[in-house]
């Protein structure tokens, strides 16, 4: 038990002292996960919305596939991206392996299906309700997508949060494609895994605390934002 207490007080000291190594790791983690979120949202949100409104043969197959991909193990995603980006792979000449860019790609691949699947679920209900009225206005199903994304923005904040949570919490994919290189591709989760195995519990615990605090802060901010928008638009 005293191990834990020692580690905890050392962790507080690290966080309070704004340890530069810690700050760098936290900064990179945020950059990677936020960029991955942006990239995945760019693809996932419109794709989910299209699947909510469009009716075509094979649609159910895509939905089932997407739902299955929600549970894609990060290490497997990492491995696939690793093979694609490695020197001998089809995208090897970009030289992205073991860079933050590779980590962004891996996390984006991991969370894009989550964003798309959840977006479809959220917007399908809304489309059910809006469909006849929008058709009456002369809006085709395809052209309804921007309206749905806009009117569904409250629920979509939650969808984005789920994506961000998954991205910032995963270890396997960024470990495999990033390589956990100190000062270059080391992020919070890979650092925690490494420091724990090395026995440097204060740093691991300090990073864990920061990670928790960030997740809490992001969720809190999103909650406030939702409340505010909800009051304005119902």
């Amino acid at each position: 038990m005293s191990d834990f207490q020692d580690a905890l007080s050392a962790a507080f000291a690290l966080v309070a002292g704004q340890d530069p190594a810690l700050a760098e790791i936290v900064g990179l983690s945020l950059r990677v996960s936020l960029m991955a979120l942006a990239l995945a949202a760019l693809v996932g949100l419109p794709l989910g919305a299209l699947l909510a409104v469009a009716r075509f043969p094979g649609r159910h197959l895509i939905i089932v596939g997407m739902n299955a991909l929600m549970g894609l193990p990060p290490v497997v995603a990492g491995l696939v991206i690793y093979l694609l980006l490695s020197r001998a792979g089809p995208f090897g000449h970009f030289g992205l392996l073991f860079t933050p860019s590779a980590m962004v790609i891996a996390q984006a691949v991991l969370i894009a299906p989550i964003l798309a699947a959840l977006t479809r679920e959220v917007l399908e209900g809304m489309w059910e309700e809006y469909r006849e009225q929008l058709h009456s206005f002369g809006v085709s199903s395809w052209r309804a997508v921007p309206t749905l994304l806009r009117d569904g923005r409250l629920a979509l904040v939650t969808v984005l949060l789920a994506g961000f949570g998954r991205a910032s919490a995963e270890v396997g994919a960024v470990m495999v494609v990033g390589g956990n290189i100190e000062g270059f591709t080391r992020v919070m989760t890979t650092a925690i895994a490494l420091e724990t195995s090395k026995g440097d519990l204060p740093l691991a615990l300090g990073l864990g605390m920061v990670l928790m605090a960030i997740v809490l802060a992001v969720n809190g901010a999103a909650h406030l934002l939702r409340e505010r928008v909800a009051r304005m638009s119902g």
């Binding site: 002369g138 304005m232 638009s233």
Partner: protein
């Protein structure tokens, strides 16, 4: 006043609609002229809502012809609006709801806003403009939906049970708006299960029974002396199915 501007008279011939092998409407034929509202009445399940949706182009007919006076169907469609039994409010302010179809019509921002505000004011809804539409009461939502349709300045307006589930005060407010819209020269075709409302609003009555228009007559004559036995029974409050 544009008295139909290319849409009326509307000629419907042999219109039919089948859903899942079950005929909902059969051989429906009638002619609608410009003028006061036409009201569709008939027992539940007679096909009233389906008929509105077919005329508005939301459902494809299984057979028959819908002929607008001068315009092909796709063009005629843009001169129509429809308000549903349960008003569909977008998740935005009442004003933004009214502006939405105007933006689709390509109206520039300031003009759009001005027209939306003018229509809300005209119908006594100005106070609600900046309230979230979905937080409004059912009656208020229905009036916003009517204002939204009126702002589009349609030649033809379809109303599906516009005051179902509303209290008498809200029903009265809705009827005032419908009357105002009709007075602007918009042709209204509406369904109702409220015979009092049909008497108050209708210029002519279409009586629908089991998927057929059994009688089409001026309202005064229809209520005084319905020609079809089913219509007479319906007016007496007998149960029809």
């Amino acid at each position: 006043m544009r008295a139909g501007s290319g849409l009326l008279p509307l000629q419907v011939e042999g219109l039919g609609f089948v859903a899942g092998g079950v005929p909902i409407l059969q051989d429906v034929s009638f002619r609608l002229e410009a003028g006061p509202p036409s009201v569709l009445i008939g027992p539940n399940g007679a096909g009233k809502s389906t008929l509105l949706r077919l005329l508005h182009g939301l459902l494809p007919p299984s057979g028959g012809v819908i002929r607008w006076a001068l315009l092909p169907a796709e063009v005629a469609r843009r001169r129509q609006a429809m308000v549903f039994q349960r008003p569909v409010m977008l998740r935005r302010s009442a004003l933004a709801n009214v502006e939405y179809p105007l933006r689709l019509a390509g109206l520039p921002g300031p003009e759009r806003r001005a027209r939306a505000q003018a229509v809300l004011g005209e119908f006594g809804l100005g106070d609600l403009a900046h309230r979230p539409a979905r937080r409004l009461s059912g009656g208020e939502q229905q009036r916003i939906a009517l204002a939204r349709a009126a702002a589009m300045d349609p030649a033809m307006l379809f109303l599906d049970e516009p005051s179902a589930n509303l209290d008498p005060a809200a029903t009265r407010a809705v009827e005032e708006i419908v009357t105002a819209i009709a007075a602007r020269g918009t042709k209204v075709l509406m369904t109702t299960h409220d015979l009092g409302q049909a008497r108050r609003l209708a210029g002519d009555i279409l009586f629908l029974h089991r998927g057929r228009v059994v009688e089409h007559a001026p309202a005064a004559r229809f209520f005084a002396a319905p020609a079809a036995p089913e219509a007479a029974a319906f007016l007496k409050g007998e149960l029809l199915w």
